[in-house]
Amino acid sequence: MSRADLQLPAAARRPGPLWTFGLLRSELFTTVRRWRTLALLGVLAAVPVLVGIAVRIETRGGAPAGGGNGEGPAFITQITNNGLFLVFTALAATLPFFLPMAVGVVAGDAIAGEAGAGTLRYLLVAPAGRTRLLLTKYTTVMAFCLLATLVVAVSALIVGALLFPLGELTTISGTRISFAEGLGRALLIALVVAASLVGVAALGLFVSTLTNSGIAAMATTVGLLITVQIVDQIPQLHAVQPYLFPHYWLSFADLMRDPVYWDDLVRNLGLQGLYAAVFGSAAWARFTAKDISA
């Protein structure tokens, strides 16, 4: 062990204002370096490919997909006319389960995984600061929501462009919009879908502060997601349904109306904000008071 000269005067250490974001950079970098994250993104990227190929095979005879009787995800019948619709179809197909499951895995693992590996104690004595670490984790999970959604959208756009024609498109209201405007709406829809995941991200982060096992936190979060999705489908429970985080998820389709129908979109974003506030506060209260003994 050589004796390198590390001894700077301690007084010379005056933190710069941006130094605090070093942790966020490190967190983003670390998250995308995990093979698990890459596997999840890979699965998400594969969904549009499968849907695209299936639709292509199905319609080789010239018949429109889905037989026109309303089966399958929204917009699926339109794909053969315009590849851009594969973006909407893929988002509609992944939003109920694949996307929130991926977010649940990343959010559930955020604190619990570090606690289980013991790395949490070293981050905290660094000192990362509990509030700062939690904010960093939540920001990273939200960045993952956006990344995951964009992976689906971009994959769908590429597959759609390769397998189907592109061009002007018809909105749900029957009006025609240019391809450029269609692209703009696709981007807007992707952002709304990403924002729809903010609630489940906060829920997962809260669960993550409750245990020292990353697997347990992921399983609990995904289990809660499935339960809530089932409850949302049971007609007898309609009284609670407006308060369930996935209830307005598919409202993103309203962005394809002309003019856009905002009511459910706003309700969805409001509900996500509420979940983020409630479970974010709960996660903060729990994490800042927690004994880190793993």
Binding site: M1, S2, R3, A4, D5, L6, Q7, L8, P9, A10, A11, R13, P15, G16, W19, T20, G22, L23, R25, S26, T30, R33, R34, W35, A117, G118, T119, R121, Y122, L123, L124, V125, A126, P127, A128, G129, R132, L133, A289, D291, I292, S293
Partner: protein, 372 residues
């Protein structure tokens, strides 16, 4: 917090070391910063200190002390009383050995020092500030290895350190790479820096954990069993490293079961048993606490034993050509003269000093009994 001035720093802070392997440690006197030298406490009969308004001791000693705990108590949620009314004082500049059998509460204490767990009673001051309240200002000046290293297996050794450094908001990102390289170099991992941490051996992980504690110049290093898993060469290197750091003025707080390790590098030590502090003080005083042994080697054992008893040596036993007894208070030269005068042929006469191990067993073992 400013660095203590050279005058404030303990002049004897650097460990005075006996040569490696030498059985006895040359007593060098307790450093000036320990006013009361050695304090002893029995497991029972300790006056109950107020849990909250615990006395802080005299202010000068508190300033010179890097860690001060008063009545520190932790009861885990299961009801386990892991640390019970701990009054620990770690002088600045010392290499402080924290000893105790398994489950005696060493790691629990360290977790409370680092603000990872909340004490159920008592106070902790680290670098003169209360923990965990002042964690943000205190911890950047503290390097820690707690209950073994913890690493991101999918990241390289270097990336692990970059991440831990990024977690510290007071760490300059412009010098980050250089500091990480220097820390890796310092623990002898420079060649393996690019390897994934999951491919590291136990000792390499331990070294990487140490490197994380050395990313910045520190005023205090808290090392929980730092040589765990290291090869003999690695242990030597760590000891050398600790001495170097101490020579630079860093206080080192080190938990271990390896007594000769403590004896070799530490200036001060504390012994825990079942969550309570049994004793703390300068290592020389601790080892002296357990009596040594007078050993006379002679072919005339019976005669020697008679002479020794006459001289008032207690507990004399003869075994072959070896006669042992309690070391007398009088000058050993007189003992030698008396033996020779009585016609005892003396091959050797020495006082075997008690090792810290004897003291440790005496303090924590069955029927523990602390003299005086």
């Amino acid at each position: 917090m400013d660095e203590p001035s050279a005058a404030e720093r303990d002049p004897d802070g650097a460990p005075a070391l006996s040569p490696e392997g030498a059985p006895a440690r040359v007593p060098d006197g307790a450093p000036a910063t320990v006013p009361e030298g050695m304090t002893e406490r029995h497991g029972t009969g300790v006056p109950e200190r107020g849990r909250d308004g615990a006395p802080e001791g005299d202010p000068a000693a508190a300033r010179a002390s890097v860690i001060v705990t008063r009545g520190l108590t932790k009861r885990y949620r299961g009801g386990q009383l892991a640390v019970d009314g701990l009054d620990l004082t770690v002088p600045a500049g010392s290499v402080f050995g924290f000893l105790g059998p398994n489950g005696s509460g060493k790691t629990t204490t360290i977790r409370m020092l680092m603000g990872l767990i909340e004490p159920t009673g008592g106070t902790v001051r680290v670098l003169g500030r209360p923990m965990p309240r002042a964690a943000r200002t205190v911890l950047p000046q503290v390097g820690a290895l707690i209950e073994g290293p913890a690493l991101y297996g999918f990241l390289s050794g270097r990336d692990n350190l970059l991440r831990y450094d990024a977690a510290d908001p007071t760490a300059d990102p412009r010098t980050r790479r250089a500091r990480v390289a220097a820390a890796l170099d310092r623990v002898g991992l420079a060649a393996a820096a690019g390897k994934k941490a999951k491919a590291y051996s136990l000792g390499m992980k331990q070294r990487l954990g140490l490197a994380a504690a050395l990313l910045q110049p520190r005023r205090l290093l808290v090392l929980d069993e730092p040589t765990n898993g290291l090869d003999p060469q690695g242990m030597r290197e760590i000891r050398t490293l600790i001495r170097e750091l101490a020579a630079d003025g860093t206080t080192v707080f080190l938990s271990s079961h390896l007594l000769d390790e403590i004896e070799q590098v530490c200036t001060h030590a504390a012994v825990m048993a079942q969550g309570r502090l049994v004793v703390q003080g300068a290592v020389a005083d601790l080892a002296a606490g357990a009596r040594g042994l007078l050993v006379v080697t002679t072919p005339d054992a019976a005669e020697a034993a008679r002479v020794l008893k006459e001289l008032g040596v207690g507990d004399v036993t003869a075994d072959g050509d070896r006669v042992t007894g309690e070391p007398p208070d009088r000058d050993l030269a007189e003992v030698t003269a008396a033996l020779v005068t009585a016609g005892v042929r003396v091959r050797g006469l020495i006082v075997e000093r008690a090792s810290l191990e004897d003291a440790f067993v005496a303090l924590t073992g069955e029927g523990f009994d602390v003299a005086g």
